[in-house]
């Protein structure tokens, strides 16, 4: 059970927060992370449009041989993405707690511009207590 990484993607597909918690993932530059986040946003849009029976929430979990990506879509279109090991069963509750921390520390902070990269110390603190890491 390892939590590798947390991403927050805004409703336009831009990566506004990215943080690694454990070694093991390939090291990428911040530009590559931006591209991957945009791609994930596109994949999500495809999966939610392709639904054969009406509206769909879109992709929620992507599993590979070595990792699992859990995506939590909020009502406002912000996506929280958690990259974990395959065995991790806890991703969804954790993402809900991340959403709560986001609502408390980012949305209520007058110095944070909506849809822009998150630079809020309190959010970092809450995420640290939630997911560990430095």
């Amino acid at each position: 059970m390892v939590t590798y990484s947390l991403w927050v993607i805004n409703k336009a597909g831009g990566l506004v927060y990215q943080r690694n918690f454990a070694d093991g993932l390939a090291q990428l530059s911040s530009n590559e992370y931006l591209v991957l986040a945009g791609t994930l946003h596109g994949i999500h849009a495809i999966t939610s449009r392709l639904s054969p029976t009406g509206t769909s929430s879109g992709v929620q979990v992507i599993e590979g041989e070595t990792l699992k990506i859990t995506i939590f879509l909020t009502l406002t279109g912000t996506k929280f993405v958690l990259v974990t090991s395959l065995a991790d069963q806890n991703s969804e509750p954790v993402l809900r707690k991340v959403y709560e921390a986001y609502a408390d520390t980012v949305m209520k902070n007058p110095f944070q511009t909506p849809e822009m990269p998150i630079r809020t110390d309190n959010f970092d603190l809450r995420i640290s207590t939630l997911l560990g890491g430095s």
Partner: protein, 222 residues
């Protein structure tokens, strides 16, 4: 008549299927419970959501920040907003505390007045008393009220380029208004004084006017 009946048929179908509007005339919800008709002394059910206030306060700061030059100006404007809250809070607090009392009284000495602010005002506004009350060692006319984690600034992370800003300037304004109302004019400011355990610890600094100090010494020590 013909046209009016056709109209009613049209609007009927529109009501029920296309727009799903309510068919019965809508009752105005605010007529049921008007805030002005509520009992002023019922404090238990009149609490407001901290989240709702956090969003309101955030908007107040963003609105103010667009209209000021610099941190001192921003704090001054927040102080003025707080002053307007304070005058009303003080009126309500006095009403709740003294209206039912057989011998209503008003504090005329400074230290009991400060205790009222530390406990009663804090409880009325924040739901808990302040954490400490201190007297300045260097200056006789300075007193400090300390809150280890002010509820109104919990959602706020001040960026580094504004690090000297304390959004508790609003609280300072409230305290200033209450002191004015009690007859102790003073200048009140808010300062962030973090400790390792309490990163949001805030000191409300009260600097009394000279007339207050003179009156206190004239009244003596009894």
């Amino acid at each position: 008549m013909a046209s009016s009946s056709r109209f009613s048929v049209l609007s009927d179908s529109a009501n029920s299927t296309r727009y799903s509007l309510p068919t019965t005339p809508q009752q105005r919800p605010f007529l049921k419970s008007n805030i002005y008709d509520r009992n002023l002394n019922k404090t238990r059910t009149s609490e407001v959501s901290a989240s709702a206030f956090a969003f309101l306060f955030s908007e107040m700061i963003q609105y103010t920040q667009k209209r000021v030059n610099g941190i001192a100006d921003l704090e001054r404007r927040l102080n003025i907003l707080g002053y307007r809250v304070g005058t009303r809070t003080f009126e309500l607090m006095s009403w709740r505390a003294e209206a039912t009392s057989k011998a209503p009284k008003r504090e005329i000495r400074f230290l009991p007045a400060l205790m009222i602010i530390h406990t009663q005002l804090w409880r009325a506004v924040f739901g808990k008393p302040a954490d400490a009350l201190e007297k300045s060692v260097e200056n006789d006319d300075e007193y400090m009220i300390i809150d280890n984690d002010p509820p109104i600034t919990r959602g706020i992370s001040v960026p580094r380029d504004l690090s000297s800003l304390s959004c508790s300037a609003l609280t300072a304004g409230i305290v200033e208004a209450v002191l004015d109302g009690l007859g102790f004019p003073a200048r009140v400011t808010a300062h962030l004084t973090p400790t390792s355990n309490f990163p949001n610890r805030t000191t409300i600094l009260i600097k009394l006017e000279k007339s207050v100090i003179d009156r206190e010494s004239a009244l003596g020590n009894n």
